[in-house]
Symmetry: C2
Subunit: 341 residues, 2 copies
């Protein structure tokens, strides 16, 4: 099994208030580079920041890394449009960062990205691939392509209160900039990415297509962003089964919509619950409060963990958090008694 | 433990008859890209060639990969001047391929490569690094920098009959092109690389320096090319212990010179014998006949294998050779009886 992590950036992520993938918008462009380093090395190496939400919730890369330290699978990080350097080893497919979807053509080379990603994946000797993503603002571009395709448009958020109305306004502006109406790119997935999407979508779509052509099993590791990729693949005419693995945090937020989307897209759905509610650790509490939820293949990585090894993974997640400088004691809000002393 | 593999190319490698790292000079520029893919994936993925010598000896990457499949260590491939694309994930330190040492300045940015490699290595969270190399023509550039430093210049070869006189002629031309005499860059290691060396030397030298500054243990995994790096480090004023791990094939060829060089440079030497002579496999026979000998961290990787696991590694090497299309039966020269039939 190999985990592929396409990592990219867009200027769409800079729209105020749509993403929690970084403490500030300026730091957010470093998030995918830092996520790649955390997955490759266990901590940031060259990236100047450890990705935490404004409320101190650590990046899901910390969870995926914890699983990897216990379960030991291969990882290849794919540069799907990084804007900042990373010290992580990356596969270079010549992908540029995405522009703002409120411009007419945010991903002008979507078709050639797709082709290069497909060629790469079809050459891999692996039997199974788990494909994740790290791209700040990715649920907004997911909403945008779903809208362009005319698919029911429900997406998750890395924020506890999903700023869905804000995202819809961005998508409306994007439609206008691209001179499109909702559903105007039905059956034209690469055009949908080119005019409304992000380079990570083109990369993941290509990876899945190439892998399936080469009879490699694929699991899409993510939430509503991977629903959008599944919709893109169906609009490209892909038949045959697809599989998505995501976290219980996405499933809890989405309710029935997640299963309905998977049913409509003929996707097998695996929901993984890491059992964070059974521990008292500030990072796990943040996830239980609805922050971050998913990303960096967290749900797919957790789907590899057998029940008896889950406690070991949770212990390891605490170690990774320590290493990232997320100290449980200092980060935990003071209790009444402590405040009084 | 993490294996770092700086992979690069030079135009020096195109000098006729100095390297066996590829079936033809035109294919040789793909060798480090293919080696990186074999180490990362177990076989070439995008590279158009499987590196074998003109006599059919497979690249040492196949041995290192076999060890990795049994012993499971982390790998980071560093782009130290690749000339051709690779599908392997690589750490990008902005290193260009080296020019021909018969030009005045084959590595104009040696000092900045050194700095970037040192910064990268000093940031790694690992306790131990094994640092190898893959660069065709690397023993010729090793001979060149040793000569420039005024060190005893003995180098190994990937060919069974070391074309050492040919290499010396190239080095003489390189000295002339750089307006240097033997020993003219005593105590000036970065200048020696800039005017007589290759970008992989600057990268390895930087990686070692950065790692040691960060109290990370380092093993130089290679033969006489790593002797040259050790000499460069000593000329840079590095004190403290150094360690080299190489194969018995290099040790057999070099005789007393290897131990003497290590003694002079205060390098602990580990020689690993993979026991290829106890098997009947065409690839192992080629190594026993003195081909390839070392490279892609082969000796360092083998030093990680305990005696009881060595048979498993040899079995796995046969599997890797099969996967690379090196079929023992077809590659083996026909016996008398077979020829007669």
């Amino acid at each position: 099994m190999r985990l592929l992590l396409p990592a990219g950036t867009t200027e769409t992520a800079l729209v105020d208030g749509i993403s929690a993938a970084g403490a500030t918008p300026e730091l957010m462009k470093h998030t995918p580079s830092a996520d790649a380093e955390i997955l490759a090395y266990g901590q940031p190496v060259a990236a100047p920041v450890t990705p935490v939400s404004p409320n101190g919730c650590p990046t899901p890369a910390a969870v995926t890394r914890a699983v990897r330290e216990v379960c030991e699978f291969d990882v290849s990080i794919v540069d799907a449009g990084l804007a900042e350097p990373t010290a992580a080893p990356t596969v270079d497919l010549g992908v540029d960062p995405g522009a703002d979807i409120r411009e007419s053509t945010p991903v002008p080379d979507a078709a050639s990205i797709f082709d290069r990603a497909a060629t790469y994946a079809s050459s891999l000797p692996d039997d199974d691939l788990v494909i994740g993503e790290t791209v700040p603002g990715g649920t907004t571009t997911a909403l945008a392509v779903l809208t362009a395709l005319g698919e029911p448009a429900a997406v998750s958020s890395s924020l506890p209160a999903n700023p869905i109305e804000r995202k819809r306004r961005v998508v409306d502006e994007a439609l206008e900039a691209s001179d499109l109406r909702s559903g105007g790119l039905d059956g034209q997935p690469l055009e949908a990415i080119e005019r409304m999407g992000d380079p990570v979508q083109a990369t993941v779509m290509g990876l899945v297509t190439g892998a399936l052509e080469a009879d490699i099993d694929v699991t899409l590791a993510g939430g509503t962003q991977m629903i959008a990729v599944a919709a893109l693949l169906r609009h490209a005419g892909l038949e045959g089964p697809l599989s998505i693995a995501t976290t219980s945090f996405v499933a809890d937020e989405q309710g029935d919509r997640l299963g309905e989307a998977c049913y409509r897209l003929n996707c097998e759905l695996t929901v993984t619950d890491p059992g964070f509610d059974e521990r008292e650790h500030v990072s796990m509490e943040r996830y239980c409060a609805g922050e971050a939820k998913e990303g960096v293949a967290m749900g797919g990585a957790l789907s590899l963990v057998s029940e008896d090894r889950l406690p070991t993974v949770l212990d390891r997640f605490e170690v990774v958090c320590d290493r990232l400088g997320i100290d449980d004691e200092r980060a935990r809000p003071p209790t009444e008694g402590e405040r009084g002393s």
